[in-house]
Amino acid sequence: MTTTEPQPGRTVAEVVTDTVAAMAGQRGALLPILHAIQETLGCVPREAVPVLAERLNLSRADVHGVVSFYHDFRSEPAGRTTVKICRAEACQAVGSGQLVDHVRDRYGMELGETRSDGALTVDQVFCLGNCALGPTVQVGARLHGRVDPARLSDLIDSALAS
């Protein structure tokens, strides 16, 4: 399986067409294709939907229905740093609520929001599978356990500075 390499100057339609050409042979290909498009473009833009529909012989409504069903697929790119705070029960039991409050108080951001300068996205997640070492926060691709508000600030600030 080959995924498309990001090339500057390619249009959304070209990226979608190339991705479909490389991956459409597998069974139930739409989800893997959407993941690959998001990997390349940082999101699944609205203009990708009609191209996908045509290439995969689906209706636009079908494709839109799938894209909008899954929390993972974004219509606009996330901020350069993404922070996901686990809000599931095991992390609640050790104070993940304080982390949500901290992000609101210190950074003025609600969960699900991207800062206007595109530097930071803060989101919630329900369980990262680190339930004995919570509260757990994911910054970029990296998992962090036993995070308190001070450590969360360190993580966010150093990610923003780099």
Binding site: R46, E89, A90, V94, D101, D123, G129, C131, L133
Partner: protein, 535 residues
């Protein structure tokens, strides 16, 4: 010139949980310290032993056995090395021979026998530690005999529902279609559960072996492992393991020199909790919205792309190699009543010694929380324990005598589920937890059936009215009514079981609803995930 110093083998877990508290940095520091003192090191990034409070747990191979040190921070490493880390020297962080620790010795590790012990992607380690014993024996048997063995073991689905595995396997075997599938449900979204992730990261070949046995037993030629996108390390490890297994002839055409043909691939979820429901997972695998299907038809007969499909959880499939390897009787001897074998209990939340306890069914909840878990991490009294994920009941300490047994828990209005045990101390507001159960259901409902889609939102509202003191008696009756409708009228366990945590919170902690413990409560928006507008 001094003779060449032999290399010492050092294990530093590469498991996501260990890495979340600095295992990568510790591994690098150990290598640097080795170079500083001229000690060559053979570093192995194993899975975790499951003693998560000791992570990062560094193990050194000595003539005595594998000596553990934990938890180790980067700043400790030089001091450890100077204290004789590489020969198992004394240090306050030294825990002794890991295999001899009472916490390990008293467990019944079948599924987790190799997790934390071996290099996860070493085929050599896998074979040297009993790998493929189950598959080799299965391949000497007819499919009927393998199914009979699984049935005789008493194995029930470990994903939560506890459906007898042998019955499902027999149904798929009985279908005549040429194309059948084996799908592993690795969409482990329940809070407080992490055993699927750990076994995929720590012993991926075990799952492959279990799925190959299943393929032989039911006559399937293609398989999928559906892993949630929140588990990137498990996805990468499984993909690498599948390539290695294919290279060794454990997958593909002519497995281990027999006519068995079975190909396997990993599919990544899209961040939807509901896709852990088996029919929703099948829809997702087909590239569709993860909406629950009405049953019947059951997936065993009409499953993925309409073909007969065996759907089992990771822990079900990873129990199978031991059943085939040691025989059904050995597995059946463990456990109580109709709950046979072991369950991988996962201790999380506010707990002093969190991690994985694989134990025969019949262990009490109190033994898990107090004996293994050591009570709360905060040191405060335990107030409630949620067993079986976000759809499981909250159990008070007065019920700690309950034995882990599907039927005993069900009779007490609770469920064993996937074996997750989440501990809360006495600061918890149980009305807020009940509200969260409804909020979670509203955020994660697939939207297909009304009791779940609408009921959950109404549930949040009515709990808010109760805690605000608005007509509490009337609203409590309304909540009870709503719970009944959701339980009886929902299409799947999502809406059907959300009332379980709510009702248990009401039954055991009614005071929290009427005299809110934390004021004022700041409600969060129901769903904060970015949603797209209608096209």
């Amino acid at each position: 010139m001094s003779p060449v110093t032999p290399a010492v083998t050092v294990y530093v877990p590469g498991d996501s949980a260990a890495r979340s508290v600095g295992a990568d940095e510790v591994a690098a520091a150990v290598l640097r310290a080795g170079a500083r003192v001229g000690q060559p090191i053979h570093l192995v990034r194993n899975g975790t032993r499951g003693m998560l409070w000791l992570e990062p747990l560094v193990e050194v191979v000595t003539p005595e056995g594998r000596i553990g040190y934990g938890p180790v921070e980067v700043a400790d490493v030089d001091g450890l090395v100077d204290a004789g880390l590489f020969s198992g020297g004394e240090h306050p962080a030294r825990v002794g021979v890991v295999d001899d620790l009472p916490w390990m010795v008293s467990q019944d590790r079948l599924t987790f026998a190799r997790v934390g012990v071996v290099d996860p992607l070493s085929a050599e380690d896998f074979l040297a530690n009993g790998g493929l014993r189950g598959l080799r024996r299965a391949l000497e048997m007819s499919p009927d005999e393998v199914v009979e063995e699984v049935t005789a073991s008493g194995l029930r689905g470990r994903g939560g529902a506890g459906f007898p595995a042998g019955v499902k396997w027999k149904t798929v075997l009985g279908c005549d279609e040429a194309l059948k599938f084996v799908c592993c449900n690795a969409d482990e979204g329940d809070s407080g559960t992490f055993a699927d992730r750990m076994v995929m990261e720590g012993d991926p070949f075990l799952l492959i072996e279990g799925m190959a046995i299943a393929a032989h037993a039911v006559g399937a030629t293609e398989g999928f492992v559906y892993i949630r996108s929140e588990y990137p390390a498990a996805i990468a490890t499984m993909r690498a393991a599948i390539e290695i297994a294919a290279w060794h002839g454990w997958l593909g055409d002519g497995i281990l020199g027999t006519p068995l043909k079975f190909s396997l691939q990993v599919r990544v979820g899209g961040g939807a909790y509901i896709c852990g429901e088996e029919t929703s997972m099948l829809e997702s695998l087909e590239g569709k919205r993860g909406e629950v299907r009405a049953k019947p038809p059951i997936p065993a007969i009409h499953g993925l792309f309409g073909q007969p499909t065996l759907v089992n959880n990771v822990l079900t499939l990873t129990s199978v190699p031991a059943i085939l390897g040691d025989g059904a009787a050995a597995f059946q001897r463990l456990g109580v009543e109709r709950s046979r074998g072991t369950q991988v209990f996962q201790l999380g939340g506010n707990i002093r010694r969190g991690g994985v306890v694989e134990k025969a069914f019949g262990v009490t909840l109190g033994e898990l929380v107090e004996h293994y878990g050591g009570g709360t991490r905060s040191g405060r009294p335990v107030r409630a324990v949620q067993v079986g994920g976000p759809l499981g009941a909250y159990v008070p300490p007065t019920d700690f005598g309950l034995r882990m047994d599907y039927e005993e828990f069900q009779a007490a209005g609770a469920m064993v589920g996937h074996g997750g045990v989440v501990v809360f101390d006495d600061t918890v507001d149980m009305a807020a937890q009940a509200r969260f159960a409804m909020e979670f259901c509203a955020a994660e409902s697939c939207g297909k059936c009304t009791p779940c889609r609408i009921g959950s939102t109404r549930g949040v509202e009515v709990i808010d009215r109760i805690t605000a003191g608005e007509n509490p008696d009337e609203n409590l009756a309304l909540l009870e009514d709503l719970c009944e409708v959701m339980t009886d009228g929902s299409l799947c366990a999502m809406g059907g079981l959300t009332p379980l945590p709510v009702r248990s919170a009401l039954a055991h902690f009614a005071g929290d609803f009427l005299e809110p413990r934390i004021q004022p409560r700041r409600p969060l928006p129901l769903s904060t995930a970015p949603r797209q507008e209608t096209a």
